[in-house]
Subunit: 222 residues, 2 copies
């Protein structure tokens, strides 16, 4: 019906707004200004107002936005109506940690099944989620109406599994394998590359070391 064309970045921030606002639900003041929210999330007030625009939530020039309205508007936009079924492939240490994370922090999402290529892992329950063998992938996906998958398999297996997921009509993949996935354009991929992230942090930290060490060995507080 409406195609508001929401960008990745905007959705990312909306998700964050909602989370922070939910925490301060039922605080002293049921309203919040764009600049207050902006301070909370480290962005500009304009950015906040732009983002809120796409939710259709209207603010009040004298009071700001009603927190409960914001949370509802964002939820209506980003959440599905019922609980969202998700699967996870690759039950290693990271995969197990994520199962735990999703269950405790994102109750709206439900990991309906896990999968692993290792026979050792199959047919066990991992933190309340049953682990199946890969051959059951397609059946379980279609039975449960699953559209999204979390991929925590080793790098060398990632593309093969991604191919299986695409064939099974998965439309969104959260990829933790440190390789780019080649999928049709209609499939959304969000990659979390821990290696790149670590490289970024150590690089920019080191750059800062050099910047402060070399020019003038200042010790601000010593």
């Amino acid at each position: 019906m409406n195609a508001p064309k929401i960008s990745r970045r905007t959705l990312e921030r909306l998700s964050l707004y909602r989370r922070l606002l939910s925490d301060r639900f039922a605080e002293e003041n049921p309203f919040i200004y764009s600049h207050s929210l902006a301070t909370l999330v480290n962005v500009t007030p304009s950015q906040v107002r732009r983002d809120i625009m796409v939710t259709g939530c209207a603010g009040n020039p004298s009071k700001g936005y009603r927190v409960s309205d914001l949370v509802m508007a964002i939820s209506r936009l980003v959440d599905s109506d019922g609980p969202e079924p998700v699967i996870l492939i690759g039950v290693g240490k990271l995969g197990s940690a994520l199962i735990d994370y999703v269950r405790t922090r994102r109750p709206h999402l439900r990991i309906v099944a896990a999968f692993d290529a290792k026979p050792m892992k199959v047919d066990r329950d991992v933190l309340g989620v049953h682990c199946h063998e890969m051959s059951e992938l397609e059946a379980i996906i279609s039975e449960n109406g699953v559209h999204s998958a979390i991929l925590t398999v080793p790098a060398q297996a990632a593309q093969d599994v991604a191919n299986l997921l695409v064939k099974a009509r998965i439309l969104g993949i959260l990829n933790f394998a440190p390789v780019p996935l080649h999928v049709p354009t209609h499939v959304f991929v969000e990659s979390i590359d821990l290696t790149s992230s670590l490289d970024k942090v150590t690089f920019f930290a080191r750059q800062e070391v050099e910047r402060t060490d070399l020019p003038a060995s200042e010790d601000p507080e010593n």
Copy 2:
């Protein structure tokens, strides 16, 4: 000396290029064209050439880039001279998984110490890394010349720990807590927000469901 002003995005991709190129080290052909590398990582050839520019690595118009030169040039740029000491705060499931991940996949990085507020966790070894109590944070950071930290503590503790890290002269933080960190501008923060990422994947997957379901119930391959 030189301030090539490397952007986050560029560094992210360079890290990825290096990883993929390392894998195909000593393959049939010791050279690679920008368009081949571009295909591997799902970006445009121009993008690849731009990124490579900042490394100073020169390509050969008829052969492309020498893979070994590329890997070395990128390493010289993004890695420190010796192994990079890093600390991790918050030894929960995710923290433990990351200790394992870093040790096996990023040997250049060394997690020299872990920390946790829970006395239960303190003074134990987690996958070869000793877990200290928070009070030792500052001493261990300065003793080991640590500049980067991985933060895997619960949301409500994140800002407090970040403050401690800043006081202890940490310059780069990889933040897994689902809250924005408020730190001075000289501190680099890379946040990995699993909740936002999950929201993104399910949202865009669902958007795709609607796009393909409603307009014309086509079943491409059935």
